[in-house]
């Protein structure tokens, strides 16, 4: 009979000359059931030489009945401490330090580690182990928050247990009016798995308050917006693009106009994360589209302090201010995507931010020739902000499937369509809106004859993209204020 030994449930390891063995098991594991008699054998033989065996049970400690040093590890503290991913795991400690470990059941290894020849005679040579409960879905992050060092620097906000964290987010002014996902530490750690960038890396300063924004702050807002971790590279690149001076994020936020940052994604990542480029492309229902665009808005609100009625002076605002994000439809190779036309490789993933108010549809079920379709487009595009408005206006034209076919069938390139439209969008000076100070934004030469023609996009950009469904002869204009040198589209590659 061995002597009674105090029951030990801590990680304090007495300094013993003879080795101490630490085993991790769960009853719900056939290999652990197979190995339990072996553990009893080890306890007896090791005990004779002054050694000791501790068995930590992850589910039901009664599974180890008869073992002197059996511990209930349902809280998984010891399993986490020893970084267990498989049961059974047998660890040998020497002088309190681990010097050998075996996982699953392999007789030769167990014999070698314990130094007990003939151990487990009659058992199969090999049986794989089962997953440790520390590896259950969601458990690694939960345990890291509970027992580890998360490295997260943000202020912790305690919500009383019986209060609703969603309501706390509202009370603190963190939402756009819709509910947000409460940013817990567990969700944050999972979100940060989506990027290799360090949590404390500074992405930039967010207007209007020019507050420093770290990867960690982006991730918190991404959690709240409903992102999955794999969206993080797109989110981070979108924010960096929006912070490029040419985009003029402060102006887009502060203006009385309804415009807001629109996020367009090109390249393989759009497909990889399941973004929508086709039917209902600008609408609801796609998680990546909705959550990525919303994260940018929440970062501006929460980190930058940009809120409606304060620095955001928009007269109307727009539903697009909740989220406006989509992927360009790149499936038909006859037209280069927007990013490829800028010189990016088709294999590159990019994010473009541009200002947009929302959409205005163009319906033309009749035209079958590119010239006719362009005339329909031009009439609608000319009306942006008023038929005589030519300064500080820009637009993206999204051409959907059935309209694109008209151009494809006629062999028209995207550049040809653009050139045709710009040719049609010439406005006589007499029709240009003039203020008290006269025809602002026009040169003296242009003003010299009321029949002179001036471009609709006098100083703003005009671009064509492919997006939308394949049933219905529609296209859509995404209009905005903007102009070269003030508010411009900005594209960044996701690296």
């Amino acid at each position: 009979m061995q002597e009674a030994v105090p029951h030990i449930e801590t990680n304090d390891k007495p300094a013993l000359a003879a080795p101490t063995f630490v085993a991790f098991v769960k009853q719900d594991c056939p290999t652990c059931v197979l190995a339990m008699p072996v553990l009893r054998e080890i306890e007896e033989l090791v005990g004779r030489s002054g050694g000791r065996l501790e068995v930590h049970v992850q589910d039901d400690v009664s599974f180890a009945t008869g073992i002197s040093h059996a511990s209930d590890d349902t809280a998984l503290a010891t399993s986490y401490h020893y970084n267990i991913d498989t049961v059974p795991t047998l660890i040998r400690l020497s002088g309190g330090q681990e010097d050998a470990r075996v996982v699953g059941w392999r007789r030769s290894e167990w014999q070698a580690v314990t130094g007990i020849p003939g151990l487990g005679e009659g058992l199969p040579e090999y049986r794989p182990g089962c997953g440790s409960k520390t590896m259950d879905p969601g458990m690694p992050t939960r345990l890291k928050v509970k027992y580890g060092n998360t490295g997260l620097a943000s202020r912790r906000i305690a919500v009383p247990a019986l209060s609703d964290p969603v309501e706390t987010c509202y009370e603190r002014g963190w939402t756009d009016g819709l509910p947000v996902v409460p940013p817990t530490e567990e969700r944050m750690l999972e979100m940060l798995d989506g990027t290799a960038r360090a949590p404390q890396e500074i992405i930039g300063r967010i207007p209007p308050n020019l507050a420093e924004c770290t990867v960690e702050k982006v991730a918190i807002n991404a959690v709240m917006a409903g992102c999955r971790p794999e969206y993080m590279p797109v989110v981070l690149t979108a924010i960096e693009a929006a912070l490029t001076p040419a985009f003029g994020l402060h102006g887009v936020l502060a203006t009385t106009n309804a415009c807001t940052p629109v996020v367009m994604v090109n390249g393989p990542i759009a497909r990889a994360i399941g973004m929508n480029a086709k039917g209902n492309v600008f609408g609801q229902g796609n998680r990546a589209n909705a959550a990525i665009g919303r994260t940018l808005q929440l970062v501006v609100r929460n980190v930058g302090g940009g809120r409606p009625g304060e620095i955001d002076r928009s007269v109307f605002g727009s539903p697009a201010k909740y989220s406006f994000c989509f992927a360009e439809d790149e499936d038909d190779p006859r037209w280069d995507s927007y990013a490829v036309s800028l010189g990016y490789s088709p294999k590159a993933s990019t994010v473009t931010v541009f200002p947009g108010d929302g959409i205005t549809q163009i319906i033309d079920h009749i035209s079958r020739r590119p010239e006719d379709l362009c005339r329909s487009y031009a009439g609608c595009i000319r009306a942006i902000y008023g038929t005589g408005h030519i300064i500080g206006v820009q637009a993206f034209l999204a051409i959907a499937g059935e309209h694109a076919i008209v151009f494809y069938d006629a062999g028209w390139s995207k550049a040809q369509v653009r050139e045709e439209l710009l040719g049609l969008l010439k406005i006589p000076v007499r029709e240009v809106v003039s203020g008290r100070a006269g025809l602002m934004g026009l040169t003296e030469e242009e003003k010299s004859d009321p029949d002179n023609l001036v471009p609709k996009f006098k100083n703003g950009t005009f671009n064509i993209i492919r997006a939308g469904g394949y049933a219905g002869k529609y296209s859509a204009i995404i209009p905005s204020i903007g102009g070269r040198g003030s508010i411009e589209p900005v594209t960044r590659e996701i690296t």
């Binding site: 963190w174 207007p207 980190v303």
Partner: protein, 93 residues
């Protein structure tokens, strides 16, 4: 039951309310900067202010940033601060 812990999504700079600078009892002998943010027709307003102040014998200096959608560069703000006692800035049209 333990509290739920949330992480603060803000810049954690909830500003203490700063008191306004004391208003001067007189602007006599001071240099006044007029800062045009480049918003349309802001210059008309500032031109008129310039006329009125100059007529009263004040020293007026004019500044302008590149475009109203862009923040004034730090250097420009420092420049104004180094040359003026007060600045009048147009914020909108």
């Amino acid at each position: 039951m333990p509290d739920n812990i949330l992480l603060d999504p803000t810049a954690e700079t909830a500003a203490a309310i700063a008191p306004r600078l004391a208003r001067p009892s007189s602007i006599a002998g001071k240099t006044i900067g007029l800062f045009d943010i480049a918003k349309m027709r802001g210059d008309e307003f500032l031109d008129r202010l310039d006329e009125l102040l100059t007529a009263r014998g004040h020293t007026v200096k004019r500044y302008r940033k590149k475009h109203f959608t862009h923040l004034a560069p730090l250097e420009l703000k420092q420049h104004i601060r180094s040359e003026c006692d007060f600045v009048v800035e147009g914020l909108a049209d």
